[in-house]
Amino acid sequence: MSELYDFEDAIAAFDPVMGLEVHVELSTLTKMFCGCANKFGAPPNSQVCPVCLGLPGAMPAVNHKAVESAIRLGLALNCQIATRSTFARKNYFYPDLAKDYQISQYEDPIDYDGFIDVELADGANFKIAIERAHMEEDAAKNTHVGGEAGRIQGAAYTLVDYNRGGTPLVEIVTKPIEGTGARAGEVARAYVAAIRELVVALGISDARMEQGSLRADVNLSLRPKTADPAAQAAVPFGKRSETKNVNSLRAIERAVNYEIRRQAGLLSAGQLVVQETRHWHEDTGSTSPGRSKEEADDYRYFPEPDLLPIEPARAWVEELRATLPELPAKRRARLQAEWGFTDREMRAAVNGGALDLIEATVAAGATPAGARKWWLGELSRVANERGLELAALPVTPQDIAQVEELVGSGKINDKLARKVLEGVLAGEGSPEQIVAAQGLTVVSDDAALGAAIDAALAAQPDIAEKIRSGRVQAAGAIVGAVMKATRGQADAARVRELILERFSAD
């Protein structure tokens, strides 16, 4: 076994080429080929029937909605929609495959020749070419028992739950992605994120990677780097590995970078990369070979005789095109213009997962700047602390809009607003309820403030002297002291005015 190569050195010596396969589970009501409910989390084997259990004599029947979703996805990916698309059987034996063949598409996928533009965190753009997107059925769920932590290795036996078997899937396959260099991992991650965003916008999938409703396989190979970048494309691809089970965006980037280092290690040591399936391990951040024994894949594809070809009428395709929602990239451009955000602000909003939240907050009456300030400031910090997605915080865009309104009307100040938010996050109610319950209104009664100012000036005579001598900025210390004394409830602007009034009157 060779050593992992240093990443920088690997990139200096080799050019990575990727191919990404993303499986998207469609959120149709029923499965791909039978009327069983397509719902996550049901008791084992409670959503199965003769068809998805592969009982002798049962026959598949294509779900119209799944085909519709696949076509809409193809259109959103700028694909051609096949004029004739067929199903095929992929034959291999495995206990999670009820019929010991998977109904998939082979020669005539429903979508082909498309592309998607993806944007990296720093704003750099990559165009990813899509080879094809095809429909197929998902396998059942295996639970390995008796080994270490559910691993297949060392398991004594396996339990199979066929509920997931037959769930509609679309598999999106890219063309080889070249020219990414050191950014390969980032590009892979951004691509999968873009697909996720797209299918959610289309409303065709939950795209929850943690539940497996969006899964990515990473094909990666290295080839020697040429001195002249223009000559790189002519160098043939190397042997590739296919890493499966990569179930988070972060893992995709890590898996790509790991494979670059592993393969560079092999190649630099004069060894060969084995063309094989590998599994990603989140805990160790590494990949391992997927099969215990080498078996040449021979899937014996042939046209599925039980299902007829699909020839989508062009009128139907155009009808579906008209149902496409505003796609994410376009929407971002529109929102940025509407909100007047800078590129940097916009990227921060996107990368922070705050776009929908800001939009909803603005819709609830807040200013774009105000909404951005809260979601990307205080709330991002809290989400980070709690290890949650921003959207998972127990606070709504309506709450934030209300806080903004309370601040704008002068009822509370920023400092109090933070307190109010703490209350909302603790589940104490809406901002208005919390303000009322805790009496968190700004003190702007001049008499009460005057007494506090007097006390602060008396406590810090040196500061008072400085102000008197014309150093107006020294008033800040007195404002701070008043705020402290009123536990933040003073109207700071009014305090400042009162202090300055007092000295100008002298």
């Binding site: 029947a61 085909v67 020839e311």
Partner: protein, 99 residues
């Protein structure tokens, strides 16, 4: 040279998951060779311009509406299972290592 050797039959049997016995391998290699010899004529029957027919009656665009139908009960699903545990189908270990 026979079209299907014993070795080829062994490979196919593995692919088809049938643990053929040695004597069966011999017998089948002979029989399959005769059969393949007899059906080989198809390779010269049709020219390249003839389209393939996969379905005898040419229908297209047959769909099922996305409407939930009742599933089997868990008991029905498992009623013929050779082994079960926790409402799931119990199958042998997938990899060969000792637990």
């Amino acid at each position: 040279m026979p079209a299907i050797t014993r070795q080829e039959v062994a490979r196919l049997a593995e692919l088809a998951r049938i643990a053929l016995q040695p004597d069966e391998l011999d017998r089948m290699a002979g029989q399959l060779d005769t059969i393949v010899e007899a059906i080989r004529t198809v390779t010269e029957a049709a020219g390249g311009d003839v389209p393939a027919t996969s379905h005898p009656i040419a229908l297209v665009n047959i769909y099922r509406p996305d409407v939930v139908r009742p599933s089997l009960t868990v008991a029905q699903a498992l009623q013929s299972a050779p082994a079960e545990e926790d409402d799931q189908f119990k199958v042998p270990q997938i990899l060969g290592e000792e637990p």
